[in-house]
């Protein structure tokens, strides 16, 4: 039997210099930390106002999504069709969706404007004719916009990730409209852009109307996103959505990856300014303010160790690099894999900060180590998973970058880091909230 006091962290901690790219740790059985903040496909889908979701899955798969909806108080926008053994045996999956959807629409007290129907891994494997299903449904319910969504985690390693697919389908109901040449959508984020960002300011000063699904309160507002001339994204999971909209609605797509590298930020913002005829901000002043904020925050932390996890930002290595280069005592990054965008930061960190600890989040030992080891309340965590593993009340509750972009994003992030250093949070309560921020 395992003795938690004798459990070592062997296999769960490697200097970045010794980690291979893109998989720092071998794949195997996986543990799931009780940090529930990251959004799932239900949370994302609920961003479409006045929509209703139907999941068609086995009971075990339904459980998590049903309760996601219930916990966010959206159970009246959610229904299910339970797939049973006989459906797999009899091959009547198409009929089940058709009749089940009709049954649910008939029972609902309000007719939804849009319907998101989620099918599962089983439909994929048995070759369910989804084209036929959706064709029939759209013909039968012409007053409801219907789109296909997927809960197919089995495809996460071989096709588009479920997360990217969901963000693609999130905009699939937008219809072609007459274009407003000075309107742009920011797509693919769970948190809207910080209105203090220089990027937002550039767009506004250039006379652009900025739209974001997070700001939409009605289905009509959502549909107005179809009027925009362009889409802007910075989350890698939104790239496919942007490319699809370009093809389908003719909206230009600008992908400006979230970055903590000054050159990359400026290059991206210059590119956008040139394409959209935007005024350029005073980059020198912005850079100076970011430097000041970083210096001041490092002074406040005064050597306090810092850990970052991959749920806090899509560029955890980039953030680690920025902080290390500005005197922060970053000791570890929690991530199970590196992305292509991580590569330059990975190479630099490997060369100059090769001792930086890389830790997994899904390794089977991680939960046991968190429970058996002493908490480290003196460490500042950026991200919920790092906060859990370290048992620290000092953490920045950040997801996917938190809508903080550019130089001013860095300044805002410094503010959050300083606040986390000063104040303690109720980590256990906060990180167990599913889909942090999904209810506004």
């Amino acid at each position: 039997m395992i003795d938690l006091h004798k459990l070592t962290d062997a296999g769960t901690c490697r200097p970045i210099a010794e980690t291979p790219f893109p998989a720092p740790f071998a794949a195997g059985l996986e543990y799931a930390a009780p940090a529930r903040g990251p959004w799932n496909i239900v949370h994302v889908g609920m961003l479409i106002p006045e929509s209703h979701q139907i999941f068609v899955c086995a009971q075990g798969c339904l459980r998590g999504v049903v309760l996601t909806a219930a916990e966010m108080g959206a159970e009246d926008r959610f229904s299910t069709i339970t797939l049973q053994e006989h459906n797999v045996r009899d091959g009547d999956l198409e009929q089940l969706i058709l009749e089940g959807t009709a049954d649910i629409l008939q029972k609902l007290e309000h007719r939804p404007r849009a319907l998101l129907i989620f099918t599962s891994c089983i439909h994929h494997f048995v070759g369910c004719d989804l084209d036929y299903v959706y064709r029939k449904l759209r013909k039968r319910f012409p007053d409801v916009d219907i789109t296909d969504c997927y809960m197919t985690p089995i495809l996460r390693k071989t096709k588009i990730s479920p997360d990217a697919k969901m963000r693609q389908q999130l905009y699939s109901l937008l219809k072609p409209r007459e274009k407003d040449p000075r309107s742009i959508n920011i797509i693919g984020n769970i948190a809207p852009i910080d209105r203090g960002s220089e990027l937002y300011e550039m767009l506004c000063q250039g006379g652009w109307r900025v739209r974001d699904i997070s700001w939409c309160r009605t289905y009509e507002e959502y549909q107005r996103m179809g009027e925009s001339a362009a889409n802007l994204s910075w989350n890698p999971a939104a790239v496919i959505a942007g490319e699809t909209l370009k093809e389908r609605l003719g909206q230009e797509h600008f992908y400006l990856p979230l970055s903590y590298d000054y050159e990359e930020i400026e290059a991206a913002e210059r590119r956008l300014a040139q394409a959209l005829d935007l005024p350029l901000p005073d980059f020198a002043a912005l850079r100076r303010r970011a430097e000041e904020a970083l210096a001041e925050t490092a002074r406040i932390l005064n050597g306090m160790p810092v850990a970052i996890d991959y749920t806090a930002t899509t560029r955890p290595l980039g953030l680690a690099r920025l902080l290390l280069e500005h005197g922060f005592a970053v000791e570890s990054v929690y991530t199970d894999s590196y992305t292509a965008e991580d590569r330059p930061d990975y190479e630099l960190l490997k060369e100059h900060y090769g001792w930086l600890s890389i830790r997994p989040t899904t390794h089977p030992k991680m939960g046991l180590l968190a429970a058996g080891g002493p908490p480290r309340p003196q460490v500042l965590a950026i991200g919920q998973k790092a906060a859990y593993f370290l048992g620290t009340p000092h953490f920045v509750n950040l997801l996917e970058g938190g809508g903080l972009y550019g130089y001013r994003g860095i300044c805002r992030l410094c503010g959050l880091i300083a606040e986390a250093a000063r104040e303690e949070k109720d980590t256990k309560s906060i990180i167990q909230v599913k889909g942090w921020g999904c209810c506004g």
Binding site: I2, Q59, L83, G367
Partner: protein
């Protein structure tokens, strides 16, 4: 307007924890390693909604992270190798592998997988061919019975002490949460003059579970305890009584039945209403079969209420059902039953099946196996007099 009567849709209600979660929940505190054979999702569903112990009490519950390629190729070697590698690091007491929908479609031979794991690691291993299409009751029941059948040693007998020894069978957080119900049942046994043996499977260390054969009688407090009761009866000849000790009068009757069973070795089921016949359904109870039937007895014996019908989406062993009860009910059945009821007692989510019946009262009786952690703080302890106090303020 006619309503298409189609099974398998849930427009307003929730779904219960699945069989695979039941396996994990039942084995959680036993020092084994439980692996859900699935791509992703089952583990976060389990540890978010079905497992209140996850944050503070470590347990070796993992997911195999099955990929499309492995599924298509029927590659079970990766699963076996990953389990063996982790087991070598963590040295669990046993290994359990439980299935989900895709392994069902792949035709995964869970018994064969377990045999191979056991051969390679030397650690006892179980395979559970769950498929995520049944409720937790089935999974937990199978898991508890399998552990008893495999590990409980022969040759243990009751010691014949002054107080009959009683084990609690079938307690998991999915039915009793973590708000003190299990502890209260243990205390109730002592108060009624019994000696509390062990609880399968909350709060009792492994060594105590292995002494289950010392009990004079077992008390089955949820339907997932029934397969275990059968296993222990087969192993030790221990009789069992079915019922949760709710309410002043019913818990006394239950105690008398326990004493009788300890004396004569006969099983007893006090959950059949004393005033028999078909239940009219004026009062509708929705919940786990043993808890719901026990609460019905409280309503009848402590409050004189009749016409209490149980209608629940959960499965129920035949011996627990009464005429008029409906198990594995679909949403349409619940709508229909609720339309005729003057009082509905069930998880708060079932208030939504009352649509159109504005005269019916509703008592919130949260159930972790139904809505997970959402209403956990409201889950009542109903042991003994507590049920009377709880009902008195609500009826």
């Amino acid at each position: 307007m006619g309503v298409l009567r189609l099974r398998q849709t849930e427009s307003v209600i929730s779904t219960y924890a699945a069989d695979v979660s039941g396996v994990c929940s039942a084995l959680y505190e036993m020092g084994g390693m439980t692996v859900m054979h699935d791509a992703s999702g089952c583990n976060s569903t389990y540890n978010t909604h079905d497992e209140p112990r996850w944050y503070d009490t470590p347990s070796m519950v993992y997911i195999s992270a099955l990929s499309e390629l492995e599924a298509v190729m029927g590659d079970e070697e990766k699963l076996i190798a990953d389990i063996c590698e982790t087991a070598a690091q963590l040295n669990p007491r046993f290994i359990a592998v439980a299935g989900t929908p895709i392994p069902m479609m792949m035709g995964t031979d869970f018994s064969g997988v377990a045999r191979l794991i056991e051969r390679r690691t030397g650690i006892p291993a179980f395979g559970f061919a769950t498929n995520g299409m049944h409720s937790y009751l089935l999974g937990a029941g199978r898991a508890l019975a399998a552990v008893a059948g495999r590990f409980c040693p022969d040759g243990i007998r009751p010691e014949g002490g002054a107080r009959p020894v009683v084990n609690l069978l079938g307690a998991t957080p999915l039915d009793f949460s973590v708000g003190g119900s299990v502890e209260a049942m243990g205390a109730w046994l002592e108060q009624e003059g019994f000696a509390f043996g062990c609880c399968w499977a909350m709060g009792s260390p492994w060594e105590e579970l292995m002494q289950a054969g010392r009990a004079d009688v077992n008390l089955v407090v949820s339907s997932c305890g029934l397969p275990l009761a059968h296993a222990l009866q087969k192993l030790y000849g221990t009789p069992y009584v079915t019922g949760a000790p709710f309410g002043r009068e019913f818990s006394r009757r239950l105690a008398r039945q326990l004493a009788s069973a300890a004396r004569d070795g006969q099983n007893r089921n006090p959950l059949q209403p004393e005033r028999g016949g078909q239940q009219s359904g004026e009062i509708l109870l929705i919940g786990e079969p043993v808890s719901a039937a026990s609460l019905r007895c409280v309503l009848q014996e402590d409050f004189g209420l009749t016409g209490v019908r149980i209608v629940t989406p959960l499965e129920c062993p035949e011996q627990l059902a009464c005429p008029g009860d409906l198990f594995q009910a679909q949403e349409d059945d619940l709508f229909e039953a609720a339309a005729r009821a003057r009082l509905v007692i069930g998880d708060p989510i079932y208030r939504r099946v009352l649509r159109g019946n504005r005269k019916a009262a509703f008592i919130r009786w949260p159930h972790e196996g139904c809505t997970g952690r959402i209403y956990r703080r409201e889950i009542p302890v109903l042991v003994g007099q507590s049920a009377n106090n709880w009902l008195e303020t609500r009826l």
